[in-house]
Structures are given as structure tokens and as C-alpha cells.
Symmetry: C2
Subunit: 451 residues, 2 copies
């Protein structure tokens, strides 16, 4: 069962691979799951990885390749000819995975590989799947499924299923179609276990099923699978014909990727990067937001310099700029995170005005709480005058309310315009809060202190 | 198939429910999936919700209750007696869901409900499951599974499976055990479709399977299911006996919750809240971090006031504090987000020193890029002296490197100590960067400008 992968095991294995000791390496990898072998690849050079892939059976190699990071996979496949990719890799994969791999190849190699696929049925299916947008149901689905005709008896269905099952790794659902291939429903395996052989499929299938259309966006597919607790969902085309099936494991990736993307955007990272990516790629993903933040900082400086003469008298005000800004920044991030998340999991309902009203109240409540503490600390610890303390506190309440409303409004506004609301979070909201916050602060100071 | 739920439909339905028109409401809800009915509940009062739950068949009602938010479910169940909960709700559920519901009840009601469960076998299983920690495999698993003895023939296995399948909603895997109930492997449904009736189970089952232990943490379970692309994973106890099974839909919730929690923590929200939660609950989740941020702002003010006499000469330095701080804050969030995410999805490997070295380089690169732009802008636009511009730029590079290293080190350090690294992100890292950043800035100013 589960093989214990110790540090020692990895060390010995790496040694043997470097020695290109085919026999021992093969033996050592014998009992391992492809996903575990893929993990070991992190410790190996591309050359050694290619050696292992070459060494193992095609089916295992294909599974390993699927588990690797895209960059690593590309490097290995680069060492393979189109014919090898077609016969040793693509041939062993489900169509949806095969399409993902082919999509990663250069345009020229793509054509070559497809031309080399021996199973003409599979080639046809792959060409069909390549037509669909990666981010839709068509791009996620595989062609591997079991379907039976509604007019068959259960015993005929079983025979056909056995035939169809040969190409499949695992069987979860049996789809029922009519003569035109139109999806009617499913025959659960349970029904199949408990029904007598002569019953007609028509009489026992379940017609209340969930499906998605070929052009449904991948996030919608994920929502359907999550909402109805499905293991797989059938995909139909414009004529309601059954054209493929999407399994929950494909959707797991979609869910995790979306959550990671939102998180990264909120943290000011513009491309999907990994901690193991190169310094140049990481810089490219991080520098743009830092530049925007920098412009925000310079913008704040420019606002302050506009009040220069007044500030000579009230230098103390400048010391509380960080307080104003960090508070505004934190409130903005909190508000936007809650909204972005609510939009992502579909829990945001009701009018925008009601929501903004609520954020106003929330900001007022939080603002008053913080302002009270700040009032006491500035006056008694920093020894600021009553007017200066009041300026700081009123400004705090104002910027908190402002940040809460901006943080709520922008994501909802963008979402309504069809823009991913996640792009608005993080540095973007923080930066605009920085500038507006400083401006509000000094305007209030001007009003109270009269400079 | 999919019923179109229009705004009009919802309005008419709400009307009929308010009129307590049982017959029409029942008809209208007939073709709907419980998950869809649960969504409609957002528009109804608790009284109306209870009316619908009462009206529908127990099985549908139980499914609806499972789909509701915890708060709504509690309110409805509050209107039910222990006997009703046991017979009309718990009785219809899989054991894992039943346990989740029972865990939400008050201690007194918990005991009453369990006493009322008529199916003594189910009651026994629920009591067993209640013993396990909610965040472990034991807390996630259900007892519903199909198991066959290795010594049976396939035909005997089929007969037994049919019997066991009656209690199950759906069949995905058939588990093979020995006389002591020790898990040996699985019999795939495909094998079962393609093997002759007299073959012994022992000869055809697959022994290379993944499993988890009863005390495996839920996040680990999710990782196993994701890594090996499983639909369900069996759970074994200390004696390696098969005690339950965890399905992928339970794990979907764990994955989404973890991603949301990390995101919320990074955004400075300390409790799992929803945009629809009350103002008090939202304040409780948001105020603590704002207070920490406030202390950071006051801390920065206190550091600056330590340089007061020097600042009278160089007031201009204060104007660039927001620039220093927001840059440091953004870098810190970026670095920590990448590390936290890498720790969550298991892609962080290799020594900490190497990683810190990389962040140092990355910080240096980003820092020099930004400093160059700032040098030009401050000198030519703001007209600062050469020395002041140099001060700002050198401080920028220093705080960026510092923020990158802190942002990387703290999550890895916490993770090594068994603390969830996500708590360190967001306001926490921002706040410490705020204070340290200002300190570095003024120390560099002191060295260069010599005040």
C-alpha cells in the first residue's frame, strides 16, 4: 500500500539515476504512485528526469508527466520527437489531458504530434477538443464516457458497457441517450446493481440530472459541481447532444487556481507565479504593483508639499500620516476582501446601496472605537494639543469610512462591468486610499487648525 | 432537466408560501434540486422556511438543510423537537452529514436527538463518529461504504454488494477486507464489469491504493485526494481496519474554506465572516487587526518624534514616509503571499537560507529599479537636494530587502513551529514593516545627512 518515501530512499535513488542504472531504478520505482514519482522529480535534472520517463512504462510515464509543473514538463517533452510524444505520451492519456499537453507545445510541434497519433478515433476527438476555449466546459471535458441507448434492455446495456469500459480507467456514471445522441439522463450504478436484466433502460434511468453547456465558463462548471456535490457533470452541445464529461478532479484545479489567483492579486502579484520560479519571472510579476505603490507614495508626498507652509507650524501632523494611511489601507483591504470573496462564492446578494450603507455604519463603528483610543494616546502620551488630537481622530473616522466604501464599491462596480473584481484589491485599493487618505487628513487639519 | 428559476417564479413562490398554500408550493418545488430550493431560502423568513421544510418529503428536507448556511439551519432546527430532528432529518442523512448537524446542536439537544434515533445501527455509528475531532479524517468520514471479503467469489460479492447498496445513494468503490476487517484494497467497478462470475475477489482486487489514518488532519486528507486525483479515500484505524470513507465533495469544502481563510487572514479578518453577517460580528472580526495597525502607526509616530530636532531642519524627509512605508508594506505582502501559498500547496522545498538569499537578490533588483525612478522624480520634480534624494533611495532599497526577507522568513519560521503561517500575513507583516521601515529610513538619514 502506501510506500514510505524517506530521505534516504531519495538519496539512493538519485545516485542510481545519475549512474543511469536502469535495472535498480526501475525496481525502486516499482511500487510508487506516479504522483509520488513526479514529486521526486524536483530533485533531478532534466536529463535525469528524461531518463526516468524513458525507462518506465508509457502509461506510468504519461501519468508522471501530467503531475509535473508545466515548465518541467515542457523541458522534458522538448527532448522527445513528435512521434515519441504521440505514441508514448498522448496515446496513454485521456483526451482532456492529451489536449492540455498538446496545447503547451509550439504550433509546429502541435501539428506534427497530431499527425503522428495512430489511433485515428482519438486523433479526431483531440482535434475536436482543441477547438474549444481552455476556460470553458469544452476545454475541460474529456471524451471518455459510457453511454447507453434508452431503448436497450439492462442486459444489452451491460454488454455494451463492458465493451466501452475497456478504454476507461474508471466508471462512475452511465449516460442515457436517444438515437440522436441527445442526453436524456443517467443510469446510476446502484440502479444497475439492483435491477433485473430484462428491464428497459428507459424505465429505470434518472432524468433529473445536472449538465453544463459546451461554452459554460470553467468557474461556472466548478460552481455547478460544488453546488450539487457531483463527481462528474456531462457536457452537451447546442443540439443537446452528449459531447463529453468533466470530472471533479479537473474542477479541483480550477477552484484552487482561482483562490490562489485572487489571493495573489490581493497581494499585488500580477502573474501566476510559484516560489520556485526564477528571479526574473518573479520580478516581472511583482514590480508593476510596486511601481503603482511608488506613484501612490510620491502622490501623497506631492499633496503634503502643497501644505508646506502650514506644516512648518504643525510638523507634528506629519508624524501621524503613517497612522492615517495604514488604518485606511487595512480597512480598504478588509472591505474589498469580503466583497471579492462574496462575489467568488456567490454569497453577495441584495442592492449595492444597502451594502454601502452597511459599510458606512461599520466604518463609523470601527472608526469611533479606534479614534477614542488614539485621542487618549496622542493627548496623554505624545502631548499633542486638544485641536491636533481632534484633527487626527476626526480624520481617522473619515478615512476609515471612505476606505470602507471605496473597498466595497470598486469590486462590485468592476464585477458589474464584467471585470474580475480581484484585480481591484491589494495595492490598487491601498494606493488610492493612501492618496485620498492624506488629502482628507490635511483638509480636515486645515478646517480645524485654520492654516 | 435543469429547471429555469426566474425572478417571476421566485416572486410567485414567495407569495404562495406566505399564504401557506401547501398544495401549490409543493407543485412548484416538485422538479427542483434541494440545492436550488436552499438558494431560494435566502428570500424567506425562518417561519416560511420551516413551513417548506415541514411540507416536503423528509429526504428532500434533509438535503435542503444540508445546503443551508449554518446560522439559517440552526434557526430552523430550533423550531423542531428532538424527535422530529431524529426521525425526519438525521434518519435521512449519511452518517458524516448527520454528525455535522448534531454537532451544531446544544449539548442537551444533542443527547435528546441521539436517544430518539430509531435505527440503532445508525445511532451507534453516529456516536462513534462524534468521538473524532472535526478537523481530522475521523470527523470528515462517513460510514456508508461497500465492502467485500477477499475470499468471496465475484458472484457472491455482487449479491452482497446489492444488499449493501440499498442504504447508499451512490456506489463508487468497493473495498476489499479480510476476516478481521483489515483493508486490503479495492475492486474497481470496471474490473467488476469485465470479470467472470467465478473468479475470486482475492485474484482481481487492486492492492495499490491510497488511504488515510483516522487522525490524519483534514488538510492532509485534501492533499491526498488532490494529489492522487481520488473520488474518495478510505479511512483506517490503528489496527488498519476499514472504518469509513471520505468523499471528494467533503474535501471541496475543506479546500475552499482553507483558501478563503488564508485570504481573509491576509486581509486582516480574524474570523470566518461572510458579507451578509451582522455588523457586530463583522466588527469583531475586523477591529482587532485595525487596532494592531493603529499601534503600528503610533509606533512609527513615536520613532519619528525621537528625531524631532533633526526633522525641523529636514521636514521634507517626512513627506516621503508614505513612500517608504507603502513600498515596504507591498513587498512584505508579496513575499509572504508567495510563501504562504507555497506552504499550502506543498510547493515549498529546499533550504531556508537559499530562499532568503533569493529574496535578498529579488529585493535588491526590485529596490534598485524603484530607487532609480524615485531618484529622478524627487530630484527633478520635488527639487530635493542630492543628499536627501540619495537618503530616500538608499532607504528604499534597504526597506525593500528587509521587507522581502521578513515576509519570507516569518511564515516559514511559524510553519516550522506548527503555527498556521497564514496568520503572519497581512496587517501583521505590514505593521512590523511600517515600524522597522521608518526606523531604517531615519537611521540612514542620520548617517547621510548627519543630524
Amino acid at each position: 500500500m502506501n510506500v514510505e518515501i524517506t530521505k534516504e530512499f531519495i538519496e539512493i535513488l538519485s545516485e542510481r539515476i545519475k549512474e543511469q542504472n536502469a535495472k535498480v531504478v526501475k525496481e525502486m520505482l516499482e511500487g510508487l504512485h506516479p504522483a509520488d514519482i513526479a514529486e521526486l522529480f524536483d530533485e533531478l535534472s532534466t536529463k535525469d528526469q528524461a531518463f526516468v520517463i524513458d525507462l518506465l512504462e508509457n502509461e506510468t510515464s504519461a501519468d508522471i508527466l501530467l503531475e509535473l509543473e508545466e515548465d518541467d514538463r515542457k523541458k522534458i517533452l522538448h527532448t522527445f520527437s513528435a512521434k515519441e510524444i504521440a505514441n508514448e505520451v498522448i496515446n496513454e492519456m485521456d483526451t482532456d489531458d492529451a489536449v492540455d499537453i498538446i496545447n503547451e507545445l509550439s504550433d509546429r510541434k502541435k501539428v506534427e504530434v497530431i499527425a503522428q497519433i495512430e489511433d485515428k478515433e482519438q486523433a479526431k476527438e483531440i482535434v475536436e477538443l482543441l477547438r474549444y476555449d481552455e476556460d470553458t466546459a469544452g476545454g475541460l471535458m474529456g471524451k471518455e464516457l459510457i453511454k447507453v441507448n434508452k431503448d436497450w434492455s439492462v442486459i444489452t446495456a451491460v454488454k455494451q458497457m463492458r465493451k466501452q469500459a475497456e478504454d476507461l480507467e474508471e466508471v462512475f456514471s452511465i449516460y442515457v441517450v436517444d438515437d440522436d445522441d441527445i442526453l436524456l439522463g443517467t443510469l446510476s450504478l446502484k440502479k444497475f446493481l439492483t435491477t433485473s436484466a430484462n428491464t428497459k433502460v428507459e424505465d429505470v434511468y434518472n432524468s433529473k440530472i445536472q449538465y453544463v453547456n459546451i461554452d459554460t465558463p470553467d468557474m461556472e462548471v466548478a460552481k455547478v459541481i460544488e453546488k450539487y456535490d457531483l463527481y462528474e457533470v456531462p457536457v452537451i452541445d447546442e443540439l443537446k447532444r452528449l459531447v463529453g464529461v468533466i470530472t471533479v478532479d479537473d474542477v479541483l484545479d480550477v477552484i484552487r487556481e482561482e483562490a490562489e489567483e485572487n489571493y495573489q492579486l490581493a497581494a499585488g502579484i500580477t502573474q501566476n507565479v510559484d516560489s520556485d520560479d526564477g528571479i526574473l519571472k518573479l520580478t516581472k510579476a511583482r514590480l508593476p504593483w510596486l511601481m503603482i505603490g511608488m506613484l501612490g507614495g510620491l502622490g501623497a508626498a506631492s499633496i503634503m508639499s502643497g501644505f508646506e507652509s502650514a506644516l512648518e507650524k504643525y510638523t507634528i501632523l506629519l508624524m501621524f500620516v503613517p497612522l492615517i494611511q495604514s488604518t485606511a489601507g487595512n480597512v480598504g483591504i478588509q472591505s474589498s476582501a469580503i466583497v471579492v470573496q462574496g462575489l467568488a462564492n456567490g454569497s453577495i446578494k441584495g442592492g449595492i446601496l444597502k451594502r454601502l450603507g452597511k459599510e458606512f455604519l461599520l466604518g463609523l463603528l470601527n472608526g469611533l472605537g479606534i479614534a477614542l483610543v488614539v485621542l487618549l494616546i496622542t493627548h496623554f502620551v505624545f502631548g499633542t494639543t486638544y485641536y491636533v488630537s481632534m484633527t487626527i481622530c476626526i480624520a481617522l473616522v473619515a478615512v476609515i469610512i471612505n476606505a470602507a466604501i471605496i473597498g466595497t464599491f470598486i469590486p462590485i462596480f468592476l464585477n458589474g462591468r464584467g471585470v474580475d473584481p480581484a484585480v481591484s484589491t491589494g495595492p490598487f485599493i491601498t494606493t488610492s486610499n493612501d492618496i485620498i487618505g492624506v488629502f482628507i487628513y490635511f483638509m480636515i487639519a486645515k478646517a480645524i487648525l485654520g492654516f
